[in-house]
């Protein structure tokens, strides 16, 4: 169901293989390809994109007591959220922390510690399972760390979903704003790359040379508030299941068919489907070099890219599990 919501995008943050910051996402150079192997075939390397961790921002976050033992997913998330909040507060002044909600979206979740914990329990026995690792395996541990670092003691939701989950996350933010529960909401997503995750992508057939899939990691964050003054999110359709291309087309149609539809970067897996279901429809390319496929984080990166254009458009959010959503942006 298409829903009219009006949200102002007050601030953005991004941590990606292109670097730390939204500017790197939009204007950065080419991300350096690295290799990673799956668990079952450690001898076969696959090209992947990783977040650079050598800069001062990453070092500062990793020194925080809450992130001392945390894996990449938590560090990326905290970094992107802090950037987005700084961006929003620079533009509009301080946002009271008790009036700032936080919503996090995760698809693969904290797979690094999950794999390490289970592998340890399997190889050494449950008697030696690690109590230091287990809490970090929980879906909401990354968001808990970010809430603690930023001092957000109000509404905090961890949601499970892929890129299409952004529509539901933003709808929830709009609902909280409408109910008066918050003054602004940090909406973010984060994913980390790890051999067991790569194993899943390989099992799905996504790592083949023709698949147009480059596994990646990172985070994206937005601060949204009630509409006024800044680029506006004007409508959304939450992630619905589709089994045929006609179902996907229905999500992208029916807004205002003269609006251009953002073009997923050429070579990415949904690009061919998009071209097939949108004949004759105006298209608009998203700026910036490729940051790869990091599911929930990619949805956020694409939203930041689309918002940076300052033009009305429809942004498709392709999920990985036959689920898709769309956002309508105004200038």
């Amino acid at each position: 169901m298409k829903r009219e919501v009006r949200l102002a995008l007050l601030g953005t943050g991004a941590v990606s293989p292109l670097g730390w910051g939204t500017r790197a996402l939009l204007d950065g150079g080419t991300a350096a390809r690295q290799t990673m192997a799956t668990l079952s075939r450690p001898e076969i390397p696959h090209a992947v994109l990783r977040v650079p961790m050598e800069g001062p921002e990453a070092a500062a976050l990793q020194g925080h007591p809450r992130l001392r033992r945390a894996s990449g997913i938590s560090v990326f998330l905290a970094g992107a959220c802090r950037q987005a909040l700084d961006d929003a507060e620079t533009a509009r002044g301080p946002i009271p922390r008790d009036r700032l909600g936080l919503i996090g979206l995760f698809h693969t979740g904290a797979v690094h510690y999950s794999r390490r914990f289970f592998q340890g329990a399997r190889e050494q026995g449950k008697k030696f399972a690690s109590p230091a690792l287990f809490p970090e395996t929980v879906y909401n541990s990354p968001l808990s760390h970010t809430a603690a670092i930023l001092g957000l003691a109000g509404r905090v939701y961890s949601l499970v979903g892929d890129a299409s989950g952004w529509a539901g996350a933003l709808a929830t933010a709009a609902l909280w704003l409408e109910l008066g529960a918050v003054e602004a909401v940090l909406v973010a997503a984060s994913e980390e790359l790890e051999p067991i995750a790569l194993e899943a992508y390989e099992a799905a057939g996504w790592l083949g040379r023709k698949a147009g899939f480059l596994a990646s990691e990172g985070a994206a964050a937005l601060v949204v508030g009630k509409a006024g003054g800044a680029p506006v999110l004007a409508g959304l359709e939450e992630g619905v299941g589709f089994r045929a291309e006609s179902g996907a087309a229905a999500v992208l149609e029916g807004w205002d068919d003269s609006l251009p539809v953002a073009r997923i970067e050429p070579g990415a897996w949904p690009a061919g489907v998009e071209d097939g279901i949108l004949p004759g429809r105006p298209r608009i390319g998203l700026p910036g070099p490729t940051a790869g496929e990091a599911f929930a984080a990619t949805g956020g990166w694409n939203l930041i890219k689309a918002g940076s254009l300052g033009k009305p458009l429809v942004l498709p959010l392709w999920g990985s599990n036959l689920q898709m959503a769309a956002l309508r942006l105004e200038a």
Binding site: Y139, A148, Y157, G205
Partner: protein
């Protein structure tokens, strides 16, 4: 829709599957009789664990009518969710003769912490052993989005779905989200629920934290020594009063309040003063527009761990007041801690307390904590017309729900 107004939200259906019963009635009878579902874990090996017992469901609910091979791909988590959701839709009058939902656009608000973790464990084991067959099936079925797909497929649903994973408060958050969607006029009805299947990784995790009780789970007792893991599913059908009335539905209860707050103290431990829980309870009462004197029963989080129960009992005394008639019990001593399902399972039990007019007794609490001793439920007549269900979770999630008797219910 009456968007912008604050509408009444009715509970028109419930569904429940626990270690003490395949439906709400059976679970209630066993809980009221003071039974506990604790037994040896048979689903996976517990060698090397400090604890070897839990509230495991011995006989899974019947599989939905799907072809033979497809039935094998319905995960344990989905089996629990499908059974509870079916009961809920049926009681609410939303199932047609073919077992499909009469409103295909019905949104879902779901919760879990582990999804179908047993499939994820199988995927890891095969990859770890260098085996490459069946990996896609296992990893695809593991993900929580797949259980949502199972629900959609079983009931013919095409609407939106939100999956909350706020650890052990998730179930209450999923219900709270559905409540707010209806209250704000965004939706007329939402199917809300939580599900959780016992899983080896999660069991080993709680065991290595020494959070599991090696013997009986004793919530709110001074000699408590840990929690008992369980599994199950709970679902509630929430509808706006106006739309439910229009179709002639009757309310089981009114969901009138929801509060949520976050404890920043520690990833796994609540702050000793329970400030976030107190905030969520006060917010829920304010949302409902009632005072604590109306609350007759609280289904407590009551894990049986040292850190949780002391903080929680203190919060109850402060928020609800020592002079008010409230009672409280933790049903986790009997059905176990169902993690991502707990908030939903326990909200269903709170609805049953309202409907039957009796509290659920606290079992296995030989030496009650002073803050709660005078208020522990004994299965007495409900001393009020409102109840609460509260939950805390890893990561600092706290949530509270207020339910009230419906006129004419």
């Amino acid at each position: 829709m009456e968007r912008g107004m604050r509408r009444k939200v009715w509970v028109t259906g419930t569904g429940l599957v626990t270690a003490l019963g395949a439906d709400a009635a059976a679970t209630w009878e066993n809980l009221a009789a003071g039974k506990a579902g604790r037994a040896a874990i048979t689903l996976f090996g517990t060698d090397g664990c400090r604890c070897r017992e839990g509230a495991e469901i011995r006989e899974l609910p019947p599989c939905p009518p799907v072809p033979g091979r497809a039935a094998k791909r319905i995960s344990r988590a989905s089996r629990l969710a499908l059974a509870a959701a079916r009961q809920c839709l049926s009681q609410a009058g939303w199932l047609d003769a073919d077992g499909r939902c009469a409103d295909p656009g019905l949104p879902l608000s779901l919760s879990t912490t582990g999804g179908a973790m047993d499939w994820g464990e199988g995927f890891f084991d095969r990859a770890h052993q260098g085996k490459r067959s069946r990996r896609l099936t296992q990893v695809a079925l593991y993900h929580p989005q797949h259980q949502a797909r199972d629900l959609r497929a079983a009931f013919g649903l095409e609407g939106s779905c939100q999956m909350v994973a706020n650890a052990c408060a998730s179930g209450a958050n999923a219900i709270g989200h559905g409540f707010e969607l209806i209250r704000a006029g965004w939706e007329e009805r939402v199917l809300c629920g939580g599900y959780e299947a016992l899983a080896e990784l999660i069991y080993a995790g709680f065991d290595c934290l020494q959070a599991l009780a090696p013997e009986a789970c004793r919530p709110f007792s001074q000699n408590r020594n840990g929690l008992m893991l369980g599994e199950g599913a709970g679902f509630l059908m929430l509808e706006s009063e106006s739309s439910a009335r229009a179709r002639g539905a009757r309310p089981l209860a009114v969901l009138s309040g929801y509060g949520q707050a976050t404890d920043l103290f520690h990833l796994t431990q609540p702050a000793a003063d329970g400030a976030a829980l107190a905030q969520s309870m006060r917010d829920a009462l304010a949302c409902a527009g009632i005072g604590p004197e109306r609350v007759g029963y609280v289904n407590a989080h009551g894990t049986g761990t040292a850190a949780n129960d002391g903080a929680e009992a203190g919060v109850f005394a402060r928020v609800l007041g020592p002079g008010n008639p409230w009672t409280a019990s933790s049903t986790k001593a009997a059905i176990g801690h169902t993690l991502g399902a707990a908030g939903a399972v326990e909200a269903v039990l709170a609805v049953l307390v309202l409907q039957r007019g009796r509290t659920l007794p606290q079992i296995q609490c030989e030496q009650p904590l002073p803050d709660i001793a005078a208020h522990l439920a004994r299965g007495e007549a409900l001393p009020g017309d409102a109840v609460m269900s509260v939950n805390l979770g890893f990561g600092g999630s706290n949530a509270a729900l207020v339910l009230e008797k419906a006129d004419g219910a």
